[in-house]
């Protein structure tokens, strides 16, 4: 694509470096912004810079947060007796969207998969243990994807929690959430959290 303007070319390249945006869409966005008042672009870039400079990870649950402690962890109306263990922050968003869950979260940051170089110590498992020691959690819900690696992770964590006074449950497996929590439709996911089942440790 020949732009005749280096300024336009740089902006197009910036946009098209983002996932899912090709050169043509990038040019459309740049031309759009060019024809809007300057403030539109200022507000747009300011929002992005502000997000990038100030976004934090909640020191308690590892969810994304604007503050040291996230909105869920600091909300006194949330039910502190249940804690939902998820793989990533998008799972938190998916479950929040169902509107059927009022408990707490803990973001693991993945599942155990040595093939991809992820061992238990690479995940937020230690911090989960120390949370459970001091918080008033009665039930831990494992909302981890129904894969072999997900199974390993649930199994591993459940064994760690075996001697604590918490009940472990899993969300109904085999419900059609396409392998990944974030693609679950809200109704199915919401229902499977409500209809969760107690977890039985294998071989015991």
């Amino acid at each position: 694509m020949n732009f005749t303007s280096k300024l336009v070319q740089e902006s197009v390249e910036a946009f098209s470096s983002l996932p899912g945006i090709g050169k043509k869409s990038a040019l459309r966005l740049v031309l759009y912004l060019m024809n809007q008042p300057k403030e539109t672009t200022h507000d747009f870039t300011a929002a992005l810079i502000n997000m990038r400079e100030n976004i934090k990870t909640c020191s308690n649950c590892h969810n994304i947060s604007d503050t040291e402690i996230c909105g869920v962890c600091s909300d006194p109306r949330r039910d502190r007796s249940v804690l939902c263990v998820v793989e990533n922050i998008r799972d938190v968003m998916a479950i929040e969207d169902t509107g059927q869950y009022r408990g707490m979260y803990h973001v693991l940051g993945g599942v155990i998969s040595p093939i991809e170089g992820i061992g238990p110590s690479d995940l937020n498992i230690n911090s989960l243990e120390s949370r459970l020691e001091k918080e008033e959690t009665k039930e831990v819900i494992m909302a981890v994807s129904p894969t072999i690696e997900g199974d390993t992770t649930i199994f591993y964590i459940s064994k760690k929690l075996k001697d604590m006074a918490v009940k472990v449950s899993t969300i109904a497996r085999g419900v059609s959430f396409g392998g990944e929590l974030e693609y679950a439709d809200e109704l199915t996911l919401g229902r499977s959290i409500v209809a969760r089942i107690p977890y039985q440790i294998k071989g015991e």
Binding site: P114, G117, G119, P120, S121, I148, T152
Partner: protein, 373 residues
């Protein structure tokens, strides 16, 4: 199951090609390297979602082209309801940067494993002797190939077992690199391996039990020898609890950074009289042995599958002399095998034999990846 038509695009040495087959017997004739075997492989691909002998898809695409496509038109004749015939179209698409796709009647499978076993197939090739001469992997491949086509549950457990095994081995490697050891994680993998291992072990054991007599019968049919042959299933799971075995070999596993016991170490012991076939069998006995394995595999699939398998035979004259081939073809035609494909380098050799039997057949002359009329 029968294949009525095949269309190839940029598959191996075929630029494009179209075939209409006999529902009984088909012969591909032509010189070596002209592409007869590639046609058998194309049919095999549509049944098993991969090239036979595990050739990488990149090497299946015609030289200097990017993608390949196979289209097969199958006729489904279930043995129980003889009248219900239905047509099925299977398409295989492989292109760079995309996952391989297999479609059934224009709908892509989510998992390729769902397709395995729908169209049962047996392929007989000169390389089969590797089963007798090479390591145990070849013989496990034979077991897995047979059972996967019959039993979706077997295939599912096998896939699960292999995934967990890979993770366990990766974990052992990582521990060695970081000079650490997480016994709790290894415990979990052990627990996860036990269920699938037990299922696979039981199914393999049961299979070999019913396979052995059929296999022996075929061997007597195609070899005139009086020697006693046998095929014995060997697995560590025969000797006690797998959970204990894992525990006992853990230290060894840790040092070697791989899992040293389990069904991925299973083997078949090929015997002739009281000796190992590999060490004491003649070339002729070896060839007859593996050919009997394959024919028995065909027979086993035929008896246990709802549809008749397709039989692909590459270069049978490599295995047997002309008299034996005649005997074999007689056997195949009399024992009511389903659809059969044969390749031969001599234009008329197979035809001469077939003439003696009243059967429907078609001959295809192949030259440089093209069908010559």
């Amino acid at each position: 199951m029968k294949i009525q038509g095949l269309k190839l695009t940029q598959f191996k040495n075929y630029d494009s090609g179209q075939f209409v087959f006999s529902e009984r017997l088909n012969c591909f004739v032509g010189k070596n390297g002209m592409g007869k075997t590639n046609l058998l492989d194309a049919i095999y691909y549509l049944c098993m979602c991969k090239s036979h002998r595990g050739v990488n898809d990149r090497n299946v695409v015609k030289h200097s082209t990017e993608f390949f496509r196979l289209e097969g038109y199958f006729l489904n004749e279930k043995k129980i309801e003889k009248k219900s015939k239905s047509k099925i179209k299977i398409v295989a698409k492989v292109q760079p940067g995309k996952n391989k796709e297999i479609e059934k009647d224009d709908v892509a499978y989510q998992k390729l494993s769902e397709h395995i076993g729908m169209i049962p197939v047996v392929i007989i090739v000169p390389d089969d002797t590797l089963m007798a001469t090479e390591g145990s992997e070849e013989r496990r491949r034979f077991l897995d190939n047979t059972l996967s086509q019959l039993d979706g549950d077997y295939l599912k457990n096998l896939i699960t077992y292999n995934k967990i095994l890979k993770q366990r081995n990766s974990a052992l490697k990582k521990f060695a690199e970081t000079r650490s050891f997480n016994a709790e994680l290894v415990d979990i993998y052990d627990q996860q391996l036990i269920g699938p291992a037990q299922v696979i072990f039981e199914k393999r054991k049961e299979f070999i039990n019913s396979f052995r007599p059929v296999f022996k019968e075929f061997y007597q049919d195609i070899s005139s020898g009086q020697e006693k042959i046998d095929c014995i299933y060997s697995s560590s799971l025969k000797y006690g609890d797998f959970a204990n075995q894992l525990k006992e070999s853990r230290e060894k596993d840790r040092i070697l950074t791989r899992t040293t016991c389990g069904i991925h170490k299973d083997d078949l012991v090929f015997r002739i009289e009281t000796h190992l076939l590999r060490k004491f069998g003649s070339q002729g006995q070896l060839k007859s042995y593996v050919l009997s394995m394959k024919l028995a595999q065909y027979d086993f699939l035929k008896k246990n599958h709802i549809s008749n398998p397709i039989l692909l035979m590459d270069d049978i004259f490599d295995k047997l002399d002309e008299g034996r081939v005649q005997q074999l073809i007689k056997l195949i035609l009399e024992k009511n095998f389903g659809q059969v494909f044969i390749t031969d380098t001599h234009e008329n050799r197979v035809e001469e034999i077939i003439k003696n039997f009243a059967t429907d057949y078609k001959k295809f002359y192949i030259e440089n990846g093209e069908l010559k009329e």
